[in-house]
C-alpha cells in the first residue's frame, strides 16, 4: 500500500472544481465560447438535403474498452446531435465503426435522434455499418464508400488514428464538406488542412458537453477553466522553485 498524495490532490481538485462549476451553472449559465464546428452542423446537413446526398459519420478506431473511452463518448454525443439534424432535414446518415459493441449503441442513438426530430420512419438499421475489428478494413470500406456514394458531409469525431488521413483525404478529393475533431496531436494538422470546421485537442471533450446547451453541462466546462487557472498557478510555483534553485518540486510531486 502507498498513497500518491500529490496526484490524488490534483485529481480531487479537478473533480471538486468541475462539481462546483456544474452547481454554479444551475443558478447562472456561464458564457462558453462558440465552437464553429458545432454551429455549422445544421447548415451542413441542410446542404446535404439540398444536394440529396447522405451524411457520413465515424468515431475512428478508438472504443470504450480502451483508453479512448472518454473521447469516443464525446464523439457519440456529437453524433446524437447530427442524427437529430439529419432527422430534421430528412437526410439519410451512415455511421461506420470497427467496434462491434458500438453497433447497438449507435443504432439506439441514431434512432433516438431521428425520433426526436419526428422522422423515425427514416431510420434504418443499415445506417450503422460494421467493418470488422481492424483499422485497415475500416479504411478500405470508407474510401470505397466515399468514392462511390459521394456523401455531402463527412464527419470524423473521436480517437482517430491513421484512418484520419484516408477519410479526410478521400473526402477532400471528392469535395465533401468536412468536419473533424480529435485530441490526438499528430492528426490535428491533417484535420486543420482538410476540414472546413474542426475541433482541436480538448475542444472535442468540451464540445461533447457544449452540444447539449444545458447549463449543467456548460458548468463542467467552467470547472475545467477554474482548474486550468490552478494549473497555471502550480506551474508558477514550480517556476519560482526552479528559479530559487530548489528541487522541492521534485519531492512534492513524488509525495
Amino acid at each position: 500500500m502507498y498513497l500518491k498524495g500529490f496526484e490524488l490532490f490534483v485529481f480531487a481538485a479537478l473533480c471538486v472544481l468541475i462539481y462546483i462549476g456544474i452547481n454554479l451553472a444551475k443558478r447562472k449559465p456561464p458564457y462558453v465560447r462558440v465552437f464553429p464546428a458545432l454551429e455549422h452542423i445544421d447548415e451542413a446537413v441542410g446542404r446535404a438535403a439540398e444536394m440529396g446526398r447522405p451524411v457520413h459519420y465515424s468515431t475512428g478506431v478508438g472504443g470504450l474498452h480502451d483508453e479512448w473511452a472518454p473521447v469516443t463518448t464525446a464523439g457519440l454525443a456529437i453524433m446524437g446531435e447530427v442524427a437529430k439534424a439529419c432527422g430534421k432535414y430528412s437526410v439519410p446518415m451512415r455511421y461506420s465503426t470497427v467496434l462491434a459493441y458500438l453497433v447497438p449503441i449507435a443504432e439506439d442513438l441514431i434512432k433516438f435522434g431521428y425520433d426526436t426530430a419526428g422522422h423515425v420512419e427514416l431510420y434504418n438499421p443499415d445506417m450503422v455499418v460494421y467493418a470488422g475489428e481492424e483499422q485497415r478494413a475500416l479504411m478500405s470500406a470508407m474510401m470505397g464508400y466515399i468514392m462511390r456514394e459521394k456523401p455531402a458531409v463527412n464527419m470524423l469525431f473521436g480517437a482517430t488514428k491513421y484512418e484520419t488521413i484516408n477519410f479526410l483525404g478521400t473526402g477532400a478529393i471528392v469535395g465533401c464538406m468536412q468536419f473533424g475533431g480529435t485530441p490526438r496531436l499528430y492528426y490535428l494538422p491533417v484535420m486543420l488542412a482538410t476540414c472546413d470546421y474542426c475541433l482541436l485537442g480538448e475542444e472535442v471533450y468540451a464540445a461533447g458537453a457544449a452540444v447539449t446547451r444545458e447549463p449543467s453541462q456548460l458548468g463542467s466546462i467552467k470547472g475545467i477553466d477554474y482548474f486550468k487557472l490552478l494549473v497555471v498557478g502550480l506551474m508558477m510555483i514550480s517556476l519560482a522553485l526552479a528559479l530559487a534553485g530548489s528541487n522541492l518540486w521534485g519531492q512534492l510531486v513524488k509525495m
Binding site: 443504432e107 442513438l109 478500405s140 482538410t194 471533450y205
Partner: protein, 221 residues
C-alpha cells in the same frame, strides 16, 4: 423488480464502481488483484461482443445478395472470405489444439500473401494523401495557416537527409522548433486533453454524459 433493473442508474453505477476500483488501486495500491481481473474482463467482453457486429454485417450483406442490389456479387465475395478464412483457421488448429497442417498452411498463405499486401496497399494511402493535403489543404487562407506552412517546410527540410545538404542551418533550426516550441505547446495541449478526458469521466459519473448507453446526453434525471 424488472422495472428497477431496467433503470439507467444501474449501468452507470456499474461503470462508476469499476472505474473507482481501478482508480483506488492506482492511487493507493489496494486490491491490485481485483483491478487486474477487471481489466482482464474488458478483453473477454470485447471478444464476446464481436457477434453483435457480425450479425449486423451479415444482415446487411445477405439482404443485398437476396435483393440482388447493386454490387451484390461483392457482398457474396465478402461472406465467402469470412468463412474460408475462419474455417481454414479453425481446421488448422485453435486454442492451442493442433489441427490439419495443410489447412494451417493455406490459412497462413491467405494472411501473409493476400491480406498482408492488400492491407499494406490500403494503408499506403496515408502516403499518397499527404500530397493531397499539401496540394489541396496547404493554402495560406489566413496568417495562422501561413505560420503552419512555413514551419512545415522548415521541418521537412530538417527531416529529409537532403535538407542539411542544402543548408546546414535546417538541422539546428528544425531541432529547436521541434524541441522547444513544439514541446512547450504540446505540454499545453496535453494538460488540456488530460483535463478534458477526466471531465468527461466526471460528467459520466454524475449521469450527464450517457452517450455510451445509447442515449442523448441531457440533465440528470
Amino acid at each position: 423488480m424488472s422495472l428497477i433493473l431496467k433503470r439507467r442508474e444501474i449501468p452507470i453505477a456499474i461503470f462508476a464502481l469499476v472505474s473507482l476500483l481501478l482508480l483506488a488501486d492506482y492511487f493507493t495500491g489496494a486490491w491490485p488483484a481485483v483491478s487486474r481481473e477487471i481489466i482482464g474482463w474488458a478483453i473477454i467482453l470485447w471478444m464476446f461482443s464481436y457477434v453483435l457486429g457480425v450479425t449486423s454485417l451479415f444482415r446487411y450483406h445477405l439482404t443485398r445478395i437476396q435483393k440482388h442490389s447493386q454490387y451484390w456479387a461483392y457482398s457474396a465475395v465478402l461472406i465467402a472470405c469470412v468463412f474460408v478464412y475462419l474455417f481454414s483457421g479453425l481446421l488448422g488448429g485453435v486454442g492451442g489444439i493442433s489441427g490439419i497442417p495443410a489447412s494451417k498452411a493455406f490459412n497462413d498463405f491467405l494472411w501473409l500473401n493476400v491480406l498482408a499486401p492488400l492491407q499494406t496497399g490500403i494503408l499506403s494511402y496515408v502516403g499518397f494523401y499527404m500530397y493531397t493535403i499539401f496540394f489541396r489543404g496547404a493554402r495560406t487562407r489566413s496568417w495562422d495557416v501561413g505560420i503552419m506552412m512555413v514551419v512545415t517546410v522548415i521541418l521537412m527540410l530538417n527531416v529529409a537527409p537532403i535538407g542539411v545538404a542544402i543548408w546546414p542551418g535546417f538541422g539546428p533550426l528544425g531541432d529547436w522548433l521541434n524541441g522547444v516550441i513544439n514541446t512547450g505547446a504540446y505540454r499545453g495541449i496535453m494538460i488540456g486533453v488530460g483535463v478534458g478526458l477526466i471531465a468527461v469521466w466526471v460528467r459520466a459519473m454524475l449521469g450527464y454524459e450517457r452517450a455510451f448507453l445509447g442515449e442523448l446526453s441531457g440533465g440528470a434525471q
